[in-house]
Amino acid sequence: MKLFKNINFEKLKNGLNKSRENLVNKISEKISGKANLDENELEKLEEILISSDIGVPLTEKLIDEIKKKIVIHKERNITLIRNLLFTEMLKIFKNISTENFTSINSKPFIYLIIGVNGSGKTTTIGKLAYNYKTIGNKVMVVAADTFRAAANEQLEVWAKRVDVPIFKNDAKDPSSVVYDSLEIAKNENYDVVLIDTAGRLHTKKDLMDELSKINSVIGKVIPHAPKETLLVLDATSGQNAIIQAQEFNKIVNIDGLVITKLDGSAKGGIVLQISSEKKIPIKFIGVGEHHTDLQNFEAEQFIKAMFD
């Protein structure tokens, strides 16, 4: 979606339509006398935001802000609007730390990777393992997806690929797998432990209970262990991701998000709503299926990508 690309600013305040039904019309009604914008431009703006999965509530909020901010400016053009919007969007991520790959002072550092089915958890683990190993850490991956067919095998391929050990056993109960793996991690001085879990829809109570159990087992084996729980979200997700974040957060405290599949054409705008409401930082983004395709989240870049 090219932001502002098709907007013709010469076409000023061209006869406001009589129908004042949508948000855009309402806005233009209010600012048409002050700003050189007509409803088409604002509608375009709305379209861009909503098409990026930013959602209606946040879109309304953003457009509202712009409406307010624009009043004090004499020179109202598209660049101004664009900048205002950019600043507003960036604000959402302000004061949300996205620190990563910091040196680990207490070990093992545990990552619990969670999310709905197919979001990219296992792949993200492979990529994280690669990155931590590359900076010199002793890394272990844990196959605690005891549900999906061949989940172990998938993680095993990743472990081989990035050359880290994998912990797995035949236990059906993922908590017991986690328990055993952490005992080893503790005794053998691992720096980083990456726990893969089964995909689960947040609507399935039994699976959410299972997750809660895994979480408490971690605390039992290694009390006060440095730990991050990362929710892996597919960038193509729509508004349901908000509920996902909410529901998972009720069960385990989410410390950060990983947004995967940003190499596609989806913008991942859903994270703006999550970040603005829940203040959950975005830790990493996935941009491909290769082990090097994991990046730190950069708010500016991320938002810029939405604009072009």
Partner: protein, 444 residues
Amino acid sequence: MLEDLQEKLQRALKRVTGQGRLTQSNISDTLREIRRVLLDADVNYKVAKQFIEDVKEKALGKEVITSVTPGQLITKIIYDELVKLLGNTGAELKLNPSGITTIMLIGLQGCGKTTFSAKLAKYLKDRKRNVLLVAADVYRPAAIQQLKILGSQINIPVFSIDDCKNPVEIASESLLYAKENGLNTVVIDTAGRLHVDEEMMNEAAAIKAKVKPTETLFVVDSMTGQDAVNSAKAFHEKVEFDGVVATKLDGDSRGGCVLSIKAVVDRPIKFTSLGEKLESIEKFYPDRLASRILGKGDVISLVEKAQSQIEEKEAEELEKKLMSNNFDFNDFLKQIKMIKKMGSLKSLIGMIPGINSAIKNADIDDKQLVKVESIIQSMTKGERQNPKILNGNRRKRIARGSGNSIQDVNRLIKQFEEMRRMMKMFSSKAGKTGMLNLKNFRYN
């Protein structure tokens, strides 16, 4: 639960008042609200806009009938149009009457193709087809292994070629294998791919060109957002598909992306996938998805159903009787029939906004109605008109005749009497609903 249903029904029916003419102004609020509902449900921005515009145009040309409000009428029209757009009837899977039926599954990464392949294979096997699963995802680690495990769980052979990195070859070899082994149905699982990945899209096109599938199905995660139209369009341009499969509908996503895809790529939705169990595959029901997308807005479909099915006069009569204490078992029976006409209790409950999925999924027993019905039907005319004569012997006979226990019969009669007493007591205040309180014929 049933009480709740009753309450909502009453409220909904009460709202069926007031008259009006559809004008720009009296539907604009509702349209704005519905537009928002659609966007919240992940219907694509452009699709939502176009859809609302189309509906509005139609609606403005229409006259308001009898007793609904303009807002309700437009909501009903929207619902109808949604169902129409989603395809009025569930489309069948195309099968090759002679020779091998080949079904190829395509889609983005993580949308649920592999699981769905196994489900579809099982579905077809259950329908007496000899099925072969084909593992043509040579990229994702252990994807082939995953399919093999799933295949063994459902006793369906899985074709794969070790160390072969060429899915075109695997797919075409699989057809030979099927022929040699007398298998008439081949389900090909392919790797997930991004529509912007040209090389991978070319590969998918090459597989299709080679095997010439009877059906190519595009699998989409129902949680997908606005971008669904872009991927679907790109897939369709490159690898023309015949139908769509919506997965992960066991979650609580509203599934607007499915509507968007239907709108931009006019292909029927053939299946839905609702869970990780290999049995959880269903045909697609447009009306269910329409209700799901409208979410809270679908009270009106309830109203509409109630309205069209209950003949007003009949209802009025019943109501009068109810209030005057002349209500007998014959009337009771009529009422049950009306409720049954409106669809199953479960589907009715599914349409009520604000009811969470746990309740929706709960087991609601339509059999209760059947039971009550059978008991009443075993009564003689006289008994129905004058329940007082129902003595012990008569009750025994009714129990035997209807195949129920005497306790069931006693309970029904007791509840019926209670209800009549209540109705008499409250008749001055009771709403003009013409409906019985459903809790009174609740059987356990």
